[in-house]
Amino acid sequence: MAVQNEKQTKRLAVRLATAAVVMFGFGFALVPLYDVLCDITGLNGKNFNQGPTQIAVVDGSRTVKVQFITVNPANMPWSFEPTERSIRVSPGEDRQTVFYAKNPTSKWMVAQAVPSVTPSEAAPYLHKVNCFCFERQPLEAGADTEMPLLFVVDPELPEYISTITLSYALYDLTSEQKITQVKPSKDKGRVSL
């Protein structure tokens, strides 16, 4: 094989190998890319708009039914229900509701609530001003508590959406908790990777 060919082949091989490594990185870059996509389209009912909002105007012309449902995944023994099944809200108005949770077991536990909204097109318009799903919620053995949720529905919510369902899945993180730290982490509702 002519020498000139060999050098050319080496250069091409190295370039292709780096392309493979770049694509491996791209595979991992899909994770944050996916979150950005979710934030814009509300894909899978995830929403990240948390914290105080400056929505002042209240659109009194229509009301939206906001429904609350709860799920206890994977052997989560706590009893966990919304105190109000559903409430009618006019967009732009700050509303508060409360979720009841009880730890019936005989040991200290900590849990993390994971929110999800349907229809997914409504997810970007549901602003959670303050939510118990922002932090992990510890409960002593046999104790129970009332967990607040303060939210506002954005007036720009599309007309055809008349019902928004907000579901919470309460996950048991007791086993992981001992590894990291006892005090609940102050992150924004997401356990960072």
């Binding site: 449902i69 799920v71 995944p73 899945a169 007791t174 086993s175």
Partner: protein, 364 residues
């Protein structure tokens, strides 16, 4: 070769369950009929294109054979022909996409539902919670294990029958909120053309409006583990009045159950009822004989929990054990069932501890 073929065909036609449905279910809702029409439309388009393509192909196979003296020509390019046979299918497909989009938009319109039901997928059963009423129950496979193990003949609804079917009113828009407790499942009723994945930690929605009362059967359609093929979906559509009656009955049953929990039971009654509960809820993993599967599911016979402290025995059944396949049966079994199955496990399957527990002593 022909001998093998005749043998194969005779084997095939032997069993008497000849049911040769070859096409999609047209279904009982406006949407499922729309989907069926789309299916047949794209099917006929494909058949027409297929007949054209294979026609030319078989024609050239028979006409231009070397053995019949055909001599090949030398043209090998004609872009205009190629453009034509590319643009025509594209136009057909675009035309096809418009009605498809319309149907899809109808399928996504879940506004103004009359009844709202939360469907939660569990590893290997479905849970139905009626959001407006206080009705919440599990729907387990009701086909007896003997039929599955070929020890008994199979009934017509083999593997498509459950103990508590989902009951919905006819001519009413029913909205389903679909999620999962553990792994991804998928809730499908072919006659409704409703199929939605149940994803843990997230909520999906779908809806149906059935005109014709009746019983409609479906299955879980996303691989979810060992018993994926054994968690069917059965929906009973009742006329408006019957549905109201059913809701009232459910409420009455709930009251009676609460009352029953305070009743006193004899040990034999508990063991008898416990055996039924064990077969339905525990035998799947701990096996009917209580030996379990080494390395996967612990045995009940001689188990330190089942023969040890009564409270720990109750606690593991009520609250399950997180991180393992042992589920929390608190919401799945009534207090009476739990007391019965605890007594059964302690005094049968090779254990004979001799003590038993009353339903009233079980706090959920």
């Amino acid at each position: 070769m022909t001998k093998a073929l005749t043998l194969a065909l005779s084997l095939v036609s032997a069993p008497a369950w000849a049911d040769w449905q070859i096409n999609m279910n047209e279904g009982v809702t406006a949407l499922s009929r729309e989907i069926f029409d789309l299916h047949m439309l794209i099917f006929w388009i494909c058949v027409v294109i297929g007949v054209a393509v294979f026609g030319v192909m078989f024609y050239s196979i028979f006409k231009f054979r070397k053995s019949k003296g055909a001599v090949s020509e030398h043209w090998h390019e004609n872009t205009t022909v190629e453009v034509v046979w590319t643009v025509i299918p594209s136009i057909i497909l675009i035309a096809m996409a418009i009605p498809a989009t319309a149907t899809l938009m109808d399928m996504y319109d879940t506004s103004e539902a009359d009844v709202e039901i939360q469907v939660t997928g569990y590893q290997w059963k479905w849970r139905y919670q009626y959001l407006d009423e206080d009705i919440d129950y599990f729907s387990n496979l009701a086909t007896p294990r003997e039929e599955i193990a070929n020890e008994a003949s199979k009934n017509p609804n083999y593997l498509l029958e459950v103990d508590n079917p989902l009951v919905i009113p006819a001519n009413k828009k029913v909205r389903f909120l679909i999620t999962s407790n553990d792994v991804i499942h998928s809730w499908w009723v072919p006659n409704f053309a409703v199929k939605k994945d149940a994803i843990p930690g997230f909520i999906n929605e779908s809806w149906v409006k059935v005109e014709q009362p009746g019983v409609y059967r479906g299955q879980c359609t996303e691989l979810c583990g060992k018993e994926h093929g054994f968690m069917p979906v059965v929906v009973e559509v009742k006329a408006e009045a019957d549905y109201e009656q059913w809701v009232a009955d459910q409420k009455a049953i709930k009251l009676a159950m609460a009352g029953e929990a305070s009743k006193e039971f004899s040990m034999d009654e508990l063991i008898a009822q416990g055996e039924g509960v064990y077969k339905m809820a525990c035998a799947g993993c701990h096996q009917p004989n209580g030996q379990g599967i080494p390395g996967a599911f612990p045995a009940i016979t001689g188990s330190t929990i089942a023969t040890g402290e009564m409270d720990t025995h109750i606690d593991i059944i009520v609250n399950g054990k997180s991180g393992t396949a042992m589920q929390a049966f608190k919401e799945q079994l009534s207090a009476v069932d739990i007391a019965a199955v605890v007594t059964y496990q302690r005094n049968a399957l090779g254990n004979s501890v001799g003590d038993f527990i009353q339903p009233s002593a079980i706090q959920k």
